[in-house]
Symmetry: C2
Subunit: 399 residues, 2 copies
């Protein structure tokens, strides 16, 4: 069914809170649930019965999967459901199926891209996700939702792209509604860098509250995890750091129509142009990375390091503004991480305040190209099952 946005609260208020306490490991007994939720003992029992019946929670006496916990312990069961996921890009798309813990059962990268417009692309995507279901022999009844990332600003509540610069024909298209109708499940759509940031944070840096995820690919974007949640901004445009002006490049025209944007001087696309004399015609970011890693070409390594410095100049400002615990560098260019991150660190540590950089880590993504689909799955898990950080009515429609 399509997501419903009318009912202000699900009829079983408290269920999501209990599941969240169990899923995040903060409570594993009925006593802890009563104490930490503030719900009455009888409400906890009633809600818990529902969660056990749906298989989302398993009790200690039900099997061997409890790893030595005392009988009666309550544990989240990541295999109780699955999420159909896609991380759609300007040059390729990553599709797959993940379980409720973000474990990827099937992940496939295809050269299909969003440029063909929403109708054709989404028809292909829907068919592909259906095939994944069959390939993985997953019972369609266990699918809890659909999570998709798109390469542009997204109005997250409605699941629609908003004025996306590189997605012709997609502006305002009801992507989430369409997918929800096709699969009869809640569907959530977000900006691709936001889902990468979410995946990386939840699986690799869940211990910190403030994390920046910088994707350096054909373009440059940033996902902000602030206070543990994705910060999307008033128009879904937060993190669009690729179009911050950097000094000294006012002769470089950016695709956005402005001059001297970070993306126009330091992205994989910009590097491909700068190194065009030694790269194949119409070189992609992967060609740039190949040449840097294996081309024995100091000029190419220097170009990547310079790109890192330009990115570092912008990140120095973000460090002073957001004061993160960690900055994760991802996207295809992060495969050339040594010169890239060296350039970034050089400028951030020179330009940001000592208090903010003293414990700051600047590191490469640990999920690499999986970050997007992992994040897409966890976005759905957190919203559909546990309402984390959001009041979401369509959770009530989850099977």
């Amino acid at each position: 069914m399509a997501p419903k946005n009318s009912a202000p609260h699900p009829p079983d208020a408290g269920t999501s809170q209990l599941l969240e306490l169990i899923r995040t490991g903060r409570a594993s007994t009925r006593q802890e649930l009563v104490r930490m939720s503030g719900l009455s003992r009888s409400t906890v029992s009633q809600r818990l019965e529902g969660l056990l019946a749906r298989g989302l929670v398993i009790a200690g006496d039900q099997g061997e999967s409890m790893g030595g916990r005392p009988p009666g312990s309550l544990l989240f069961n990541p295999k109780a459901g699955f999420v159909l996921v896609a991380d759609c890009g300007a040059s390729q798309t990553h599709t797959g199926i993940a379980d409720l813990g973000g474990d990827v059962l099937i992940g496939e990268i295809t050269d299909r891209a969003i440029a063909e417009g929403p109708e054709g692309f989404l028809a292909w995507l829907e068919a592909r996700l259906d095939e994944h279901l069959r390939e993985a022999s997953v019972d369609p009844a266990l699918v809890r939702g659909v999570g998709v990332g798109l390469p542009g600003p997204v109005e997250h509540r409605k699941g629609r792209p908003v004025s996306p610069p590189i997605m012709p024909g997609w502006d305002g298209y009801p992507v989430a509604e369409r997918l929800a109708e096709t699969f009869s499940r809640p569907a959530l759509v977000d900006n691709d860098v936001n889902i990468m940031a979410l995946g990386e944070h939840r699986l690799a840096h869940n211990e910190v509250r403030d994390m920046l995820f910088v994707k350096v690919g054909t373009g440059i974007g940033c996902g902000l995890v602030l206070g543990g949640n994705i910060h999307r901004g008033a128009h879904g445009a937060a993190g669009d750091i690729g179009h911050i002006h950097v000094p000294g490049h006012d002769d470089v025209l950016c695709s956005c129509g402005n001059i001297g944007c970070l993306e126009s001087v330091a992205s994989g696309g910009a590097l491909a142009a700068q190194l065009s004399d030694v790269l194949p015609r119409d070189a992609k970011v992967s060609d740039v990375v190949d040449h840097v890693l294996h081309g024995d070409d100091p000029r190419a390594v220097a170009a990547v390091r310079n790109a890192g410095r330009e990115i570092g100049g912008v990140l120095a400002g973000l460090v002073n503004t957001c004061d993160p615990d960690v900055i994760v560098i991802g996207g295809q260019m992060a495969l050339a991480d040594r010169p890239l991150i060296a350039g970034i660190r050089e400028i951030v540590y020179r330009r940001s305040l000592p208090l903010a950089t003293h414990n700051l880590r600047i590191i490469k993504s640990s999920l690499d190209e999986r970050a997007g689909i992992v994040g897409a799955a966890l976005m759905v898990v957190e919203r559909v099952l546990t309402d984390r950080g959001a009041s979401v009515a369509d959770a009530a429609g989850a099977p």
Copy 2:
């Protein structure tokens, strides 16, 4: 008593949630409270009894203050308590008393400043707040807490300054602990720009989720309200935009030891230096503002407009990063708001993405110099009474 940080949850879990629903006007009947909280009817009744007994909530049949609401309506009572507040600065300090709605009963600006170090300054502050209590004839038993802003990074959880550049002798000093002990009430301390941002947001822009508050005074700082809450960052250093590098001024040494920081070229202090030939010796920011507004000096107006452009260049990056609904310009230099905001707007609208600036408002603070003490009061109200946006154990100690 000193704040306790040990107990993970107050014994009356749910009380703060109910009070928050009533205080923000989202619920005004028992039925709404049961439905929106997920608590049982009996728990709601029990907690509500406590809130009514403490006078924090009043019921419709109790008086005429309900403004035509039906009998039985529940309403937050801002006069049920008071907060002792202070906004401490590098050149002057604003002290006062506010009620639980942020209404200022007493507000006083003194030339006393933090430079003398914590012992002497806090002894003076404590005496001054005691005098305010007598002047306002407020029953000390009705004081719910103490809220203080300091001009530097603050570790908010502990209420201690962290490596504050302009507060000699204050690094690590237990300000909140000391005030809590002196007044036997919970005490909260935050960065001064953060409390200004909170006050401005809650009283003037509560309808938006994402707001930036830029204080332009002797220095330059920014308070970030993101998703409705103050974003403090990993080290309490978020919003320190005064030390972001701006191009073209590498000959200007900043007080932080770096070169070309925004603060060193566009703050009130920097303007005082730029206009020193027409200002009194040791001119303050107020002298700059006076001269700009009444000096009939186009060069001074141009200097402020240029400062606005430099600030606008940095804010353009913040707009792309945070995508706020509104940017509020405060601090003493905002009194010269026409040339300052004109310069800011000029660059932000030229350099930020159209999606992010389409509905963006850039406006002057409406609370002016009261923003700090109003915010200090509301910080205490939200934390001590209602735990908004934080898990706070010291709330349990509120009288």
